[in-house]
């Protein structure tokens, strides 16, 4: 294993917050253009819902937000400690710092 934790001074691509902003702006730009294309491109309609203005973008956005909110809410009653299913010996091993990941 060569997972050394080192505080290297090397600057990587996304260490510069400016670059993260650039990526985000590119995403916003793409979204805007795609939304705009809805008015330009004449698509075949298979279903009446597709006539709704901006159906796919809105469905994608709302769907994902609902997905994440419901999943977060599910944590309240489905989440358990990491060693929930482990046997007593395995729990002791985890307590003493042993990591069960291997090659």
């Amino acid at each position: 294993m060569n997972n050394k934790k080192i505080n290297d001074d090397k600057k990587y691509l996304f260490d510069n917050p400016q670059n993260i902003k650039r990526v985000l702006y590119a995403l916003y730009g793409c979204c805007l253009i795609l939304f705009g294309l809805d008015f330009v491109i004449n698509r075949h309609i298979y279903h009446s819902w597709e006539n709704i203005w901006g159906f796919y973008p809105i469905y994608g956005f709302v769907g994902c937000v609902v997905l994440v909110l419901v999943a977060t809410w599910m944590r309240h009653f489905l989440m358990r400690p990491e060693d929930y299913y482990d046997s007593e010996e395995e729990k002791d091993k985890l307590k003493t710092g042993g990591h069960d990941v291997d090659v």
């Binding site: 060569n2 934790k5 075949h44 469905y59 994608g60 944590r75 989440m79 990941v101 090659v103």
Partner: protein, 566 residues
């Protein structure tokens, strides 16, 4: 030609024996050569070939070739080749032999022409693959492998029962369209359903796959579920129930995937989600839908393999796989990052990547056949799969917060295997006609029209926007070290607890009853003893002389009395 008569599983089984007795480079060379030779051989095998023999009263067909089985045969060879290249650095005979036998069993199953042969390979799949889980050699993997084996063998036993019923009902064991009529149909359906990870029957997959070895998971993700998809496509095309089961399979795992911490378990959930698309396609049953299901199975083997390989590379190099422990790996693992993103784009069905050209067929078929609500569910699942597999996996492993881990890219063989898979993902995405030519039906479908491309891109980009928005607002659930309960809680916690309590109650009640009975019995005996122990009583030890004289008198009187009757 005699050569064609060799079923495709034979080279893999012979290879497994040969590599048992070889070492080092020779073993590696043989392992690589087998899928290559097998694929060339399969390429020349003519469609429609079959091979029959009689067993007891039944006509068996252990080897049958048609377009459906060929399609799975091709992709299994590709998957075996990629996974073998990926695992070339391994020096573990048990794993290598098990992997060869496992790939061979999958090939045997898809070329089986009768249910009995199918059953044999069905069980072999279970027995060979479990060693890829146990090879991790941890207590957890041992227990997970045991649970996996029990469920898989159960599926096989149900299949055997179904096959016997089927033979009795139809007088033939030929594996063709079965349908849900009669006992046999349902038993076989359930057996296929277990291996296909139908909802509630799905936990063997999310339980065992993340506990397997780095390379073992890559093999596992390719074969078992796809054999089940093949079996459903052959036995139950157009069964409407499958549409609803499949739609459920596409939707429920994505919720679990969003909150799961182990990134390989996230991929296991998304594997169920992808199989759901195939099951919907089989359930619709039109030429376009079946084509879509099979094409998606073909693509899924490759892009899901790629994703499992990239997460395997992370686990191999860092020793960690929890989203909460990882992050910032793009800095030192740039190649793995790019290859993972290709896999993520493919599974999310971005245009020009392989997922797009097959998933859109199933979606179009759902819409054409009036399954409106199902189509909406599939659309939601498409957005969801992008969310958890397309963004979450690369984001939490390679970007997000810097974990401080500075692991380098994995060994060359792992990178090459991932590169081959990535090239196939893009190649099929750009030239889908190559894939379509292999499909069983000719539908003239073209995925690249403005409607599909625009709709899919809009859906995906706005899903990405939702991810960014939720993250910036701090509403995205953080990765937490945790276990998320799923249906496996029933047999891992509830049943054991219920049965333990039940047995302890029964034990106590039983103990109490016995004791109460004993006490009563003792009392009765004491009572009896006391009553009959007095002088000249029934159980008395001492008898007075008087009573003896009395009894002698009685006997003598009896003699006297009897003598009157002479």
């Amino acid at each position: 030609m005699w050569m064609f008569e060799i079923p495709p599983f034979v080279p893999f089984f012979i290879g497994a024996v040969v590599i048992l007795f070889t070492r080092g480079i020779l073993r590696s060379a043989i392992m690589i050569a087998i899928p290559v030779v097998g694929a060339i051989h399969l390429w020349m095998v003519p469609d429609g070939l079959s091979f029959q023999l009689s067993f007891l009263d039944y006509q068996l067909m252990p080897y049958r070739v048609d377009k459906l089985s060929l399609m799975f045969g091709y992709v299994f060879h590709i998957a075996a080749f990629i996974a073998i290249v990926y695992s070339l650095h391994i020096r573990d005979t048990m794993q290598q032999v098990a992997a060869m036998l496992y790939a061979g069993s999958a090939l045997g199953a898809v070329f089986a022409g009768d249910l009995l042969t199918l059953f044999v390979f069905w069980e072999l799949l279970a027995f060979t693959s479990v060693f890829l889980i146990w090879a991790r050699r941890t207590e957890r993997s041992y227990a997970a492998g045991m649970r996996y084996l029990i469920i898989q063998v159960l599926s096989g036993v149900i299949l055997l029962a179904g096959a016997l019923f089927y033979g009795a009902e139809n007088g033939s064991l030929e594996f063709g369209k079965i349908g849900l009529e009669g006992m046999a149909g349902w038993l076989i359906f359930i057996a296929f359903g277990i291996k296909c990870a139908f909802p509630i029957l799905h936990n063997w997959l999310t339980d065992a796959y993340p506990e397997a070895t780095v390379t073992g998971t890559v093999f596992l993700s390719a074969f078992t579920t796809k054999v089940a998809v093949y079996a459903l496509a052959r036995g139950y095309p157009g069964t409407e129930l499958l549409v609803y089961i499949g739609a459920a399979m596409t939707c429920f795992p994505i919720f679990f995937a969003v909150i799961e911490n182990d990134l390989r378990r996230v991929l296991a959930y998304s594997l169920i989600n992808q199989v759901g698309f195939m099951v919907v396609g089989i359930g619709i049953g039109t030429a376009l839908a079946i084509n879509g299901a099979i094409a998606h199975a073909f693509n899924d083997v490759i892009f899901k393999g790629l994703l499992f390989m990239s997460m395997g590379a992370v686990l191999h190099m860092t020793g960690r796989i929890n989203g909460s422990d990882l992050g910032g790996l793009y800095k030192t693992m740039p190649k793995t990052t790019v290859l993972c993103i290709v896999g993520a784009a493919s599974i999310s069905a971005f245009p020009l990547f392989s997922g797009f050209v097959s998933k859109s067929m199933v979606m179009s078929a759902a819409l054409e056949n009036g399954f409106d609500w199902i189509w909406l569910m599939l659309l939601f699942a498409s957005a969801g799969v992008f969310h958890h597999a397309g963004i979450k996996i690369p984001y939490f492993a390679f970007f997000a917060h810097d974990s401080g881990i500075r692991a380098s890219d994995p060994p060359a063989n792992m990178l090459i295997a991932m590169l081959i898979a990535a090239c196939l993902c893009i190649g099929i995405g750009v030239y889908p006609s190559v894939l379509y030519a292999l499909l069983p039906y000719d539908t003239g479908y073209n995925p690249y029209d403005a409607t599909h491309v625009l709709a899919q891109t809009q859906l995906l980009f706005f899903s990405a926007l939702a991810f960014v928005w939720l993250n910036l607002k701090g509403m995205y659930p953080p990765e937490l070290r945790s276990v998320v309960l799923d249906a496996d809680w029933l047999y891992r916690r509830m049943f054991p607890t219920v049965f333990q309590n039940l047995f302890s109650v029964i034990h106590k009640a039983d103990n109490g009853l016995r004791r109460a009975f004993l006490v009563r019995l003792e009392k009765r005996l004491d009572n009896l003893a006391v009553r009959h122990e007095r002088l000249s009583g029934l159980l008395s030890r001492n008898h007075p002389v008087g009573s003896m004289v009395m009894w002698v008198a009685v006997i003598l009187a009896t003699y006297l009395f009897l003598s009157f009757f002479r």
